[in-house]
């Protein structure tokens, strides 16, 4: 079983400067196509739901998750991961209906649904006779 990436992204690795300018963790993401929408599952445990930013601008989706600090000042015996904010952005190839994007945070996972724009949905064209 492969492991979650929990790697701090520098500005150059993520290819885009986050407005906050700090390094942040890169969350693991699944992207699926389900019917007429793209759905993203973003691992973001311990986030403050009201402080999660999801921005969609000219085909670029940016996600910033602010994390509730925890374990501060603890005397660690085992310290396998760090706790900090998450940031990741994607260039989305499909045409998305930006006004209909929705996001939900549950059990530490941010689910973002990006419905495809109406114009690109396949349509059956009925053929008249005569």
């Amino acid at each position: 079983m492969n492991e979650p990436s929990n790697v701090k992204a520098t500005t150059e690795e993520s290819g885009l400067e986050p407005t906050r300018g700090d390094a942040a963790f890169v969350p693991s993401v699944d992207i699926v196509e389900k019917g007429n929408a793209l759905v993203m599952f973003v691992d973001m445990p311990g986030a403050v739901p009201e402080s999660i930013d999801v921005d969609f601008n000219q085909g670029r989706l940016s996600i910033y998750g602010k994390i509730k600090p925890r374990g501060d000042g603890a005397q660690f015996l085992l310290h396998e991961y760090g706790v900090g904010d998450f940031f990741r952005s994607f260039q989305v190839s499909e045409d998305i209906d930006a006004a209909a994007i929705s996001a939900r945070y549950e059990a530490g996972v941010l689910q973002v649904e990006l419905p495809k724009a109406e114009a690109l949905r396949p349509r059956k064209i009925s053929v008249g006779a005569g």
């Binding site: 759905v39 660690f76 396998e80």
Partner: protein, 138 residues
């Protein structure tokens, strides 16, 4: 506008692909899932793991002596009607055991799972708690 070196991007993509390959099915992986943080206070040991998307009913926590075991599974968000464009999140079953350096009171261990963070509180047994020693001047 910052220019990103295509070589650096390529290398970081390759690093990511290769690290996934090494980790897959490898018993020698230097990092296991889930990653754990363990710390102590005078009266307690604490263990914490990040388990986003894992349901409470799919999680088992056992304490035997001073060994803590976390077992569980995470199911993929699959559905026959879905096609994956990208799949990075681990799925399947996992198991980690940690031997704690002090004796804990197994009957009074408690755990909470909130927003994908599992926090386990393990009170130290009375014997294991630090004692102040009075120094008498003689």
């Amino acid at each position: 506008m910052r220019r990103v070196s295509p070589f650096r991007q390529f290398r970081s993509e390759m690093d990511r692909v290769l690290s996934d390959v090494w980790a897959m099915g490898s018993n020698l992986a230097t990092r296991a899932f889930p990653a754990l943080n363990v710390w102590e206070t005078d009266g307690e040991m604490w263990a914490e793991a990040e388990l986003p998307g894992v349901k409470q009913e799919d999680l088992d926590i056992d304490v035997v002596g001073n060994e803590l075991t976390i077992r569980g599974q995470r199911t993929a968000p699959t559905d026959e009607k879905m096609t994956f464009h990208r799949q990075e999140r681990t799925t399947g079953s996992f198991r980690r055991t940690v031997r704690l350096p002090v004796e804990v009171d197994a009957d009074n261990v408690s755990a909470t799972l909130r927003d994908g963070v599992l926090t386990i509180r393990l009170p130290k047994s009375e014997r294991a708690k630090p004692r102040k020693v009075q120094v008498s001047v003689g």
